[in-house]
Symmetry: C2
């Protein structure tokens, strides 16, 4: 059973770069009990692909994507905090996105969905905050793309949150990350089954999506991890599925398994929109420069966590974000973790992340 | 007019991992004048995609791929040295490869070509050395994949060369590099126009080749270069060819232009074979360990050049190669260059490379 709730935004929702959605829905999930007007509320924005199901609950016992972080006695302690996780606008896990039905036409939006930005994702989160009657938040937190959505939320609603945590995010994407994502999108769009976005949902552009997921994995982890983990290990002759050009090395078999796991879970058009939104986000657009963007914030505490081996959101970008925050936020902490699993470390290196997050919330 | 010569290997040519080619051809180009039995001969192995046309000459005045390195008065001075550049076996610029006609069938080899290794490429080079009557070489030199071919040459023919230069190469590929190349091959093979390798040469799998080239460029250069060069620059509205998902940022337009330049120049099947050969090469297979491989060499001088920002053949691999060589070669030099153009630096950062190569050959 799902623990996901939804809220509907009444009437037209004007998108940040133009276009309007008619009464979009935002899906979210909550854990813990709300105290007061939101002084114990923690608002969580996700990376590109997760749903709002960040942790299990009595209602939905399936493990969530941040299962070891959110719960009773865990770093984001649900005995103490009321946690809300948002499914991004534009995604396909309950929130309105390109795979949703456009009420005006009765058909899926597909590529008629307006250009999506992370400011729109932030406003989706704000709609949930309003629907829950909150006028205050303890902390806004975001991982990867969600860190940029969270930053967008804080700059547009500076009155709401006391705290901010950015995990493996940045103020804006570098050309390297844009290049990688642009190529991932091209892989999907070159798959003949994409059909200009008009694919049959039962017959999506799986070939392109597999390629994009593999390139994703290459940039989500690190060369260092793989050198330790796989080296030049070959898979056994018996279990080989490869041919002359592939499948011989353990790393190839690993990527194949990762692609298989992901496929069918995420709508291709939704992926295209959220991927482009990650390219487009630029905190400097708020006020005209990074400095003015930071000046618009009204936070009391900020925590920036980055990972040495992350090359999608590299450590010097984490430093830039922390430096900018430290000039305007009374208490700013920057934690540089020495994990070897790259950008994905916040999902898999829990022993490194737990104490840092825990310390923030135990204050 | 082409200055490329060819030599034919008489009779059956047994491939390193099995299979036989019937009298394959190796294309090469030379500059300068041979002195003695080869004491001034420099044998050059190329990266995956270049032809044997490394530099211009009276016969072929078109600029070569290492134009600023080879010539009268240049670091590899053709007034003094006799330079031979080999077109790799398996390539498509005169040497026998998957795009060549199999004399047994009268049709192109395509995927019936046997598994290609860099040891086979090295033997292609050896065939030219024999055909030219050389019993001695001053130096064997290789860039990128060619560095591994050159290492394969030196370990199989230790009696021939006094000197060895490796540029941005390694003893073997890391899982990260294998992952990248495996994905590039999959991009081509998933293009319906590849047709299992049986594409019409006039209608090749251009879509897949474009994707593979773009991923190539992402790994040949560096995030640091692109941050300096492109930042978040957008292209002008007038010159935009993009749409909602692409083409807006300068980096996207750059990758598009690079893909356009490459397409049509290189046969897709040849690319697949040479790419896989780069994965398969493992110097430790010579003697059973890296240490025994190095022990089989008989060099007097070695030079290893690596670049700090290279993440396809990262600097710690250059260090590993230099360390191994230094244990068995009387004079080994390791030069770590601080260029920001990544793996491709040896093609574009000539001011950094020229003095190092020059010093080696002026001795």
């Amino acid at each position: 059973m799902s623990a996901t709730r939804t809220t509907s935004i009444d009437g037209p929702f004007a998108m940040h770069r133009g276009g309007v959605l008619d009464s979009p829905t935002i899906a979210y999930e909550t854990w813990g009990t709300l105290g007061g007007d939101g002084e114990n509320a923690v608002l969580l924005f996700t990376g590109l692909s997760p749903s709002a199901h960040a942790a299990s609950s009595a209602e939905d016992p399936a493990a969530g994507w941040w299962e070891e972080m959110i719960g009773s006695g865990l770093p984001i302690d649900t005995d103490r905090y009321f946690v809300i996780c948002i499914n991004s606008l534009g995604s396909c896990f309950g929130s309105t996105g390109p795979a949703s039905i456009d009420p005006a036409t009765g058909a899926r939006y597909r590529t008629d969905f307006p250009v999506l930005t992370l400011e729109d994702v932030a406003e989706g989160g704000y709609a949930v905050v309003k629907a829950l009657g909150l006028t205050k938040l303890h902390t806004v937190i975001g991982c990867s793309m969600g860190g940029m959505s969270a930053l967008g939320f804080c700059v547009r609603h500076p009155e709401l949150s006391e705290g901010f945590i950015s995990i493996s995010a940045a103020t804006r994407a570098l050309p390297f990350s844009i290049a990688v994502r642009s190529l991932q999108r091209e892989m999907i769009r070159r798959d003949p089954q994409w059909q200009g976005g008009d694919y049959d949902p039962a017959d999506p552009p799986i070939g392109g999506q597999r390629l994009a997921r593999k390139l994703g994995m290459i940039t989500y982890r690190s060369a260092e991890e793989w050198e330790h983990r796989f080296g030049r290990e070959r898979i056994s002759v018996e279990s080989r599925s490869g041919d002359m050009f592939s499948g011989d090395f353990a790393i190839e078999s690993y990527l194949e398994a990762q692609a298989n796991r992901f496929i069918g879970q995420f709508d291709a058009n939704c992926y295209l929109y959220l991927s482009r939104a990650s390219d487009l986000f630029d905190f400097a657009e708020h006020g005209g420069s990074l400095e003015s963007g930071f000046g618009m914030l009204n936070l009391s505490r900020a925590l920036v966590i980055g990972v040495r081996t992350d090359f999608l959101f590299p450590i010097h970008q984490q430093q830039e974000l922390a430096d900018g925050l430290s000039r305007v936020v009374p208490e700013t902490e920057f934690v540089r973790l020495d994990c070897i699993k790259g950008h994905d470390s916040f999902l898999v290196e829990m022993d490194a992340f737990r104490p840092v997050i825990s310390r923030f919330f135990q204050r």
